[in-house]
Amino acid sequence: MKEKIRFLFYPESIAIIGASTNVAKWGFIILDNIIAGGYKGRVYPVNPKVDSIFGLKSYKRVQDIPDEVHLAVITIPRDGVFEVLKDCAEKGVKSIMVISSGFSEAGREFVELENKLAEFGREKRIPVAGPNGQGVFNAFINLSATMAYFNVKPAKVSFVSQSGNMGNTMIQWAKKYGMGFGKFISSGNEAMLKTEDYYEYFENDPDTDVVLSYVEGVDDGRKFFERLKSLALKKPVIILKGAKTAEGKRAAESHTGAVAGSYDIFKSAVKQAGGILAENPEEMGDLAFAFLYQPLPKGKRVGAISGGGGWAVLVADALAEEGLELAKFSPSLMEELNKLLPYYWSRNNPVDLVAERKEGIYQKVAELVISEPTVDIFMALGIGYGYSGVFKIDASKLIEPEMKAQVKNYVRERGIGESLALLELKEKFKKPIIAASDSMFAEDFYQNESLKILIENGIFVYTTPQRAARVAAKMYWYAEYLRRRKGKFEE
């Protein structure tokens, strides 16, 4: 079955069963998005009532399509679904996504119907996603068989979500911040294919390096646990849990029972299996970006530089709170730093470059700190320096108009120079570089080329030291998890 799941993500031909010209219907939305997305395969609308839809030939039944069908997307109302499923089986459709709603989510009386859907898939050996899903997306083949249309650069991030709109959330995040995105499947009610089935598929998918998962509940905890454990040994899996506060009801006679909340146990199971928990969608994005583009740290010692005192203090606090350590600097490093920095510098890690920083100093200090053997993680704060100055220059009454262009260009070049240097250091030292800057709060942050260059080349810039520290801590946690199990599981 897991080989067949490939047809859901990489179909060469798709039938839209329930294709429609009514723009308010799923049968229109999905078809429209598939075409708008520039899907490279063949698309076949199926609708018994019409002969063509927007100039595409429409088929009465899926069996009439004169081609193999790799994926059938079913959008018709619930009561017609089983009839159509029979057609799909007869046609030999390779995989099915059921968008149609009104199954178990509509009430207990429809649970049986949902079970029948699962039985159908198992009996005919066809992978069935959904029902009540929002579709499937794969940037690698420009496939947007989803409610929303996404034009995002492909990246090796795959997301299985028990909620459709969480997919929109994360893909929008990924697009806004230039991370890119790979696959997204809205697993819906998971009648047949469960979150853990997609884990199994992603484990061997060469286009997946990082897995995201939004989970509200699991049917078979053990299976979920085992599949997650197997996947997490190969690829980082970032999990966001919904319905945390719904406590499982348990009549307990022991203390153990009395303190065991269902979310506590879920959390522990995820940790034990090597999954990384995100507390909210933003953190999920923060983590996905870092795991996708940064190497794992070898330890928990952080070397940090900042462009101001407050941030240096905040990052030190945040690192301590997250269980990371500030690296000890060797006397020779301190000597080098003393030569570079003004006499009143803090003489400490984090290195505060102080506000008035000399040209080229950021690069030099960054290289000294990142090359220090005791530094496992490098934190670059205060990057994107000076850009706000560009606007100040425009407003200035003192700088002469003809000088303004020159000054602006100087500021711009300096910012870009610092960013390019960081990217080089990332390649050279193979240590994670976690950046944070208040410049990310600027309303036009993306016009700041120094930030843009970093983000588009794999160094995300977080808005606060806390966000950055949390990402660093979770990367360290995962690296440790793998290290502790390596002897046993090394491939």
Partner: protein, 220 residues
């Protein structure tokens, strides 16, 4: 949700079951007379602990059925008589060596609806349910999981040297947790287990009290 019928074993029977699953239980005697009690106390050496037990008697401490740090024969006689006159249906008494360690931990098993048997380890004693400084893992666990359980407690420092007491024998504690995590697979009837408190002392880990709850497969 259908609730399952369960039966809570007495401390003595709980410990027997655990012993049969390979868990080390400190030497103790189930005594039914004062004479027996005095005899075995001599064998164990003072100070001792005496606990009244019987079918369905929970919360022994609150009912005054636990007498700790009994220093001599005189004290033991007094304790024995006090427990007998408690008004509870005492079937016998457990005589144990008094473990002077100040640190108390708790370990247990619970069956989760989604994940099945789950093992818990944490800070024990009277504040367990208030502080909830505990960690869980899906059972059975491996050594590496047990190590992570210990390190993830907020009070993880209690495992190191503490107020003049030696560091907890981690290896023994970890091996106890691994074995405990296997119990519900060896005995399918096990629904819940509490080892509470577990007191480390010198190089040993003492399970001072235990409660095993079984599925009641009896007469229904």
């Amino acid at each position: 949700m259908k609730s399952m019928k369960t039966i809570a074993l007495s401390e003595h029977k709980s410990k027997e079951l655990l012993k049969n699953s390979g868990i080390e239980i400190p030497e103790e005697y189930f005594v039914k007379t004062e004479e027996e009690c005095l005899k075995f106390a001599k064998k164990l050496g003072y100070p001792v602990v005496l606990k009244g037990t019987g079918e369905g008697i929970a919360h022994k401490t609150e009912k005054g059925l636990v007498k700790v740090k009994i220093m001599d024969e005189e004290g033991l006689k007094r304790a024995y008589r006090e427990i007998l006159s408690s008004g509870e249906k005492i079937e016998g008494m457990l005589l144990q060596k008094f473990i002077p360690g100040k640190r108390e931990f708790i370990a247990g098993i619970v069956r989760d609806q989604q994940f099945g048997p789950v093992i818990m380890f944490g800070l024990g004693g009277i504040f367990t349910e208030v502080l909830k400084d505990v960690s869980f893992r899906i059972a059975p666990i491996e050594k590496v999981d047990a190590e992570e359980m210990l390190s993830e407690l907020k009070s993880a420092k209690l495992i190191d040297a503490f107020r003049g007491e030696k560091p907890v024998n981690k290896e023994k504690l970890i091996s106890l947790l691994v074995k405990l995590s296997e119990v519900p697979f060896k005995d399918e009837r096990v629904v819940e287990i509490d080892l509470n408190p577990i007191i480390p002392w010198e190089d040993e880990i003492y399970i001072v009290d235990a409660l095993v709850v079984l599925k009641d497969e009896g007469k229904n």
